[in-house]
C-alpha cells in the first residue's frame, strides 16, 4: 500500500485546538464566539474531506511529528477506517454546534465559553484517535478526550454532576491507566513497537494465557466502549447538557472506545492470531451479553436520556461484536454501524434535548401525546428509532444486514439469534415512545393540540440528521467503500 506524507492530519487535529484561543478572546460576544466554532468545524470538515479521494484510491496518508521513545513516535496515519470515523465526527460537530446554540441559549446555561472550548478540545481528541498511527498516539488522544470531556459532563457543577463526574473519571481514567497502560507497555516490551499493522504486531508464538490477558485488558481498559461491566459511567454521564450527551456519548467518546477496540483487534493482535486462539469467540460472548443486558435494562428506564444511554451500551457492543466476529462482512458491518448508529442516536438525543428545551420534561411518562405539540421533532424521533432498530429504509438496516451476514460467514448462528432478538428488544423500547406520542386518546394526552416546537436552532439539526439517516440507506457511498477498503486491508483480501 503506497503512502503519502502530508501535514493534513495534524492540521485537522490542530484546528479545533487552535480555535480555543479566539473562542476565549471573544467570550464577551456570543455570536462571534459561536461563529468561530462554526468556522473551525467547516475548516476541519474540509481538511478531512479533502483526504477522501486519496484514501479511496488505496493510499495511506502519514505524518510523523516526533519520536518520543525509541521506536514510538507521535505519528498520524489516515487509512480508510480512521477517515470514516473522522468524517462522521467532524460532520456531526458542525451539526451539534448549531444545536448547542439553540439548546444552551434556550436554557440560558452558564459558562458557555468554557463549554465551547472543551467541546473543541474533545473533538481534537476524537480526530486524534481516528488518525493515530500507533497505540501510543491513540492512548495520548484517548486521555486528552477523557480529560476534555470531564468539564462538559459536570457542566452543571451541582451535587449530581459531581457524583457523575467522579464515576465518569473513575471508570474512564482508572481503566485506561490501570489496564490499557500496562498492557501497552507489555506489548512494547515484547515487540519493541506499537505501530498498527494490518496483520497485527504480536507473533503467533505467544502463550495463549498472556495473549488472552492482554486482549481483555484492552477490551475492558477502553472503558469508553462501555462493554459490561465497565458501563456504569455512561448512564451517569447523562447529567451533562444534551448536546454533550448527543455528540460525545452517542458519537465521539463512545465511538472512540469501540474504534480503539477495532484498532487493537486488527492492528495489534491481528485477525489471524485471534482466530487461532479463539479469542474472537470469547469477545463475541462478552459483546452478546452486553447487547442483551443493555437492551433489557433500557426497557425499564423512564428517563428518556437514560433509556437512550442503555440503548447506546447495547448498540456499542454491536460494533464490538462486528470486530469480534473476525469475518469480512462482520467487520464491514461493525464499521458501518459506527456511522449509522451515530446519525440515528444523535437524532434521538437531539429530540430528547429539544423536548427538554420546549417543555422541560425528561421522563417518558410525561411525554404521552407530545407528538401533538412537537410533530416535527417526534417524526424525527421515529426515524431515528427506526435507524437504531435497523429497519429499512434507514441506514441502520444496512449495518445490521452486514453484521448478520458476518455471523453467517463466521459460522456463529447463535450470535445471529442474539442480534435478531436484540432487534426485537430495540423495537420494544423505542416504538412505544413514538406510538404514544402520536396515538393516544385525548384524555391521556398531556399536551394541547397546538404546535409549539423548540427553537429553530434545535429543530433544524435534528431534521438534518434524521434526513441523513434515511439518505444513508439509499446512498451509503463513500462510507461503504471506505469500510470495505479498510476490511480488505485487515483481511488481506
Amino acid at each position: 500500500m503506497e503512502s503519502v506524507t502530508s501535514i493534513k492530519p495534524l492540521l485537522a487535529i490542530l484546528t479545533s485546538i487552535i480555535v480555543v484561543v479566539p473562542i476565549l478572546l471573544s467570550r464577551k460576544h456570543p455570536n462571534v464566539r459561536e461563529g468561530w466554532s462554526f468556522l473551525a468545524g467547516f475548516v476541519k470538515l474540509a481538511i478531512v474531506g479533502s483526504m477522501v479521494p486519496l484514501v479511496l484510491k488505496g493510499t495511506v496518508i502519514e505524518y510523523t511529528m516526533i519520536e518520543v521513545v525509541a521506536g514510538v513516535a507521535l505519528k498520524f496515519r489516515v487509512d480508510a477506517m480512521g477517515l470514516l470515523f473522522a468524517l462522521v465526527s467532524s460532520t456531526l460537530w458542525i451539526v451539534t454546534t448549531g444545536y448547542s446554540i439553540g439548546y444552551m441559549r434556550g436554557l440560558k446555561e452558564h459558562s458557555q465559553t468554557r463549554y465551547y472550548c472543551f467541546f473543541a478540545l474533545a473533538l481534537s481528541g476524537t480526530i486524534g484517535v481516528a488518525f493515530a498511527a500507533n497505540l501510543f498516539t491513540l492512548y495520548l488522544f484517548y486521555e486528552i478526550l477523557s480529560l476534555a470531556t470531564f468539564p462538559l459532563v459536570t457542566h452543571h457543577q451541582d451535587a449530581e454532576a459531581r457524583a457523575s463526574g467522579r464515576k465518569y473519571l473513575t471508570f474512564i481514567l482508572g481503566s485506561s491507566i490501570g489496564l490499557v497502560l500496562p498492557a501497552m507497555l507489555i506489548i512494547y516490551n515484547i515487540t519493541g513497537t506499537l505501530e498498527f499493522s494490518n496483520s497485527g504486531i504480536l507473533s503467533a508464538g505467544m502463550s495463549k494465557g498472556l495473549m488472552s490477558v492482554l486482549f481483555f485488558m484492552f477490551i475492558f481498559g477502553f472503558a469508553k466502549a462501555a462493554v459490561m461491566p465497565f458501563h456504569p459511567w455512561l448512564p451517569a454521564a447523562m447529567v451533562a447538557p444534551t448536546p454533550v450527551s448527543s455528540l460525545l456519548h452517542a458519537v465521539a467518546v463512545v465511538k472512540v472506545g469501540v474504534f480503539s477496540i477495532f484498532r487493537v483487534v486488527t492492528g495489534i493482535f491481528g485477525i489471524d492470531n485471534l482466530r487461532m486462539f479463539e479469542l474472537g469467540t470469547a469477545l463475541c460472548w462478552v459483546a452478546a451479553f452486553t447487547i442483551l443486558a443493555g437492551s433489557l435494562v433500557a426497557l425499564s428506564q423512564d428517563s428518556l436520556k437514560r433509556r437512550l444511554a442503555f440503548s447506546t451500551i447495547g448498540q456499542l457492543s454491536y460494533i464490538v461484536l462486528g470486530a469480534a466476529l473476525l469475518s469480512k462482512q462482520g467487520m464491514t458491518g461493525g464499521m458501518l454501524h459506527i456511522l449509522m448508529h451515530a446519525f440515528g442516536k444523535i437524532t434521538l438525543f437531539f429530540c430528547a434535548g429539544a423536548i427538554f428545551v420546549a417543555t422541560g420534561h425528561k421522563y417518558l411518562s410525561q411525554m404521552v401525546g407530545i407528538g401533538r405539540r412537537m410533530p416535527v421533532t417526534m417524526t424525527a424521533f421515529f426515524i431515528g428509532s427506526l435507524s437504531v432498530i435497523g429497519f429499512p429504509p434507514t441506514g441502520g438496516f444496512l449495518s445490521k444486514w452486514y453484521l448478520l451476514l458476518g455471523t453467517l460467514e463466521a459460522d456463529q448462528p447463535l450470535m445471529m439469534f442474539i442480534l435478531l432478538s436484540s432487534t426485537l428488544l430495540n423495537a420494544a423500547y423505542f416504538l412505544p415512545i413514538a406510538y404514544k406520542a402520536f396515538f393516544c386518546s385525548d384524555e391521556e394526552a398531556q399536551f394541547e393540540q397546538k404546535i409549539d416546537e423548540a427553537p429553530i436552532w434545535c429543530v433544524a439539526p435534528l431534521v438534518f440528521t434524521a434526513t441523513v439517516s434515511v439518505g444513508l440507506f439509499f446512498f451509503p457511498q463513500p462510507f461503504l467503500d471506505l469500510a470495505k477498503l479498510a476490511v480488505q486491508g485487515f483481511t488481506g483480501g
Partner: protein, 493 residues
Amino acid sequence: MSNLQAPILLVTIPLLAAFFAALGGMLHRKISFPIALIAIILSFHQSIIVLLKVVNDGVINYRIGGWMPPFGIEYVVDHLNAMVLVVITFVSLISIIYSKLIVERELPDKIPQFYTLYLLLTTGLLGITITGDAFNLYVLLEISALATYALLALGKDRALISTFNYLILGTIGASLYLLGVGHLYIATGSLNMADLFRILPSLSGNSAVMVGFILIIVGVWIKMAFFPAHGWLPNAYTYAPSSSICLIAPLMTKVSVYIMIRIMFSVFSAEFTFANIAWQTAVVWCSVIAIIGGSLQALAQRDFRKMLTFLVVAEVGYMVGGVWLANEIGISGAILHILNDALMTLCLFLVAGILIFKTQRHQLMDFRGMFRKMPVTMGAFIIGALSMIGVPPTCGFFSKWYLIQGAIEAGRWEFMAALIFSSLVNAVLFFRIIEIGHFQHETDSHDHAEEKISEAPAIMLIPLVVVAIALVVIGLYTNDIVTNVIQHAVPVL
C-alpha cells in the same frame, strides 16, 4: 593550559555571589536579590555550555589547582551530571525569580541572609553533582545541609522541631557517608572516584569495602528519605517557608538519588553493586513499600503541601527502585525521572506557594473556586498533576514508561504494580482537588456574573507557566534526551 573554565565557574559564581549578597545586604537589603539573580543566570548559562560540550565532545575533566588526580581534586562532568547540573540551575533560577515577593513578605528583615543561604544551597547542590572526589562530596553535602536547615527552620508551626529531627537524621546520614568513605580509603588509599573505580575490583570480597558500600548507600538513603528512613521529610517540608521549599523539595532528594547512582556505578561497579540478587530484591521491595505507602499517606492528607511531601517520598521510591531493577532501561527511567520529577515537584510546589501567597492557607479545601479566580495557575496545576499521574504527553508519563519497561524486563511485577497503583492514587488525589476547584463556589453556581479573576503577580506566574510548558516540551523530546544524554550515562550491564 587555558582550557574550559565553565565547570568551575558554574559552582564558584553562586559561591562568590553568596558572599557578595551578604556584603551587599549590609549596605541595603534590596541589593542581594539582583546579585543572586545575576549569579544564577550566569551559572545556568555555564551549565548549558557544559552540557552542550559534554554532548558534543564527551566527558570533561577539570583539575582544581592544576593537580593531577588522584592527588588533587578533580571535577568530572559526564552525561549524567551535566544533565543534573542543568536541572539544578534551572530550578534554582525559576524559584529565585518566583520567590522574590514571597521572601519580601515572609522574611522582610532577613532578605540578605535568605539569598546568601539560597546561593550557598545552590552551590552545595551543584558541587555535589559535579565533583569527582568522594570526600569533597561530603563537604558539599554539609554546606547544602546547613543551608537547608537554616532555610527550613525559618518556617512556621512545627518547623523548628521537624528541622531539628532532620538535622539529626541528616547528620547521621552524612556521617555514615563519611564513615563509608573512610572504609574505602583504608582499603584503597584513595579518595578520587575514578581512582577508586580502578582499584576496587581488585578488592572483591574485602569486608571493609562491603561495609563501606553499605554505609554510603544507607547514608544516602537517609538523606533522600527512602523507606524506612523517610520519617523526617514530610514534616520538615510541610512547615518550611514557601520561599525556600521550591528550591529544596524538588532538588534535595533528586541530588541524593544522583549521589547514589554515582556511587553505585562510578565508584563501585554495576557488577559489584548487583552481585547479590537478594539485596536487589529487598531494595526493590522497599521501594514498592515507599511508593505504595507514600501514595496512601498522601491520600490521607488534607493539607496540600503535606500531601505533596508524601508524594515526594513516593517518587523517591520510583527512582531508587528503578535503579535497583538492575537493567539499562530501569536505570534510564530513574535518571530521566530525576529530571522529570524535579520539574513536576517544582511545578506543584510553585502552585502551593501561589495559593499560600494569595490566601494564606494551604488546605485542600482552599482550592474552592480557584478555576475561576486563577485560571492560569490552575492550568499549570493541571499540567503538573497530569504529569504526576503519568498522562501523556507530559514528561511524567515517559519516565513511568521507562520504569515500567525496566520492571517488565527484570520481571519485577511488584514494582510495575506499585507504579500503576501510584498512578491511580495520584489520579484520585489530584482529581479530588480539581473537583474542589471546579465545583465548590462561595457563590451560587448559576451566577452569571463572572467572578473576578485575581491571579498572582506576573513575577510568580511566569516562572510557573514556564515550568508547566517545560513539562510538556520535555515529555515530547524524551527520545532526544534519552539518546543524546541518558543513554551515555547508563552503565553497560
